[in-house]
Subunit: 145 residues, 2 copies
Amino acid sequence: MQITSKFTVAVHILICIDIFGKERRVTSDFLSGSTGVNAVIIRNVLGKLRESGIVETRQGSGGANLARPLCEITLYDVYKAVDCIDDEGLFHFHENPNADCPVGRNIHKVMDGRLRAVQTALENELKGTTLADVVADTRKIIDEE
Amino acid sequence: MQITSKFTVAVHILICIDIFGKERRVTSDFLSGSTGVNAVIIRNVLGKLRESGIVETRQGSGGANLARPLCEITLYDVYKAVDCIDDEGLFHFHENPNADCPVGRNIHKVMDGRLRAVQTALENELKGTTLADVVADTRKIIDEE
DNA sequence: AAAGTTGTAACAATTATTATTTCAGCTTTC
DNA sequence: GAAAGCTGAAATAATAATTGTTACAACTTT
């Protein structure tokens, strides 16, 4: 299993908006070209980023802009925005443990908290980097090319 | 996306082996009954646990046994055993970033390390609990029922 | 020899992910 | 105000991953 590529696509999009946003309109078509991902998917991802208040887009006028500074956007915000993980959580539980078995009827009591802690550890790590960090690295690498 | 239920199934299996192993043979059929998961899937999971030296099974003679003490099996060992994460890692990257774009050709350099760190945080948290912890909780809950 | 079991392959069903097509509606520009 | 270019969204298709099922050879124990 893997976390949907919408997450890396979203990060890619945000970097592009910052790097290219001054010189040109960053349209879904342009982003499709940079990411190699279908423009409709890009618009979906942009839509989710907009719903979360991370970017601004509107019909008609081409081009996405950041809705708040990069230093106020963490990887966790992006991960939440694109729904990497649904309500059920990171781990998929087998759905029908047998309530007639002492283990089957208690497995959730024993495991749910621990699995939640694992998910939280992942999320906390994501909170540790902002898009400002990511873009700074990107600019550095580009400058040294 | 979610981590395959084989992981929670594997944990369930190991708890059952410890709880019921003294009184009865813990066969794939019995485990299928307790988990609600198909017996062939159970045998697949048991096969992976065997390959990782966590359980012992053999053809013909029914019943799985632990190959080492519960306190020497962490949730991480189980997670590794059942191949929750393949070589590509936890995050699925979009596959064709454009090498002609400064962002596209550098996105991996910028993100791979950070994503690896997130995965490591998850794995470290999994290393923090052993099956002995999990079974102790299970026994406690059963006793109080 | 019979009964019960594991290991494994082949296949089917289900679900999730990603891509594609299409088009109404909005903005900007000429 | 017409044309061009864009977004938002729905519908559908294609692909991949996950889980379940059927079938059976090989093995153990009784």
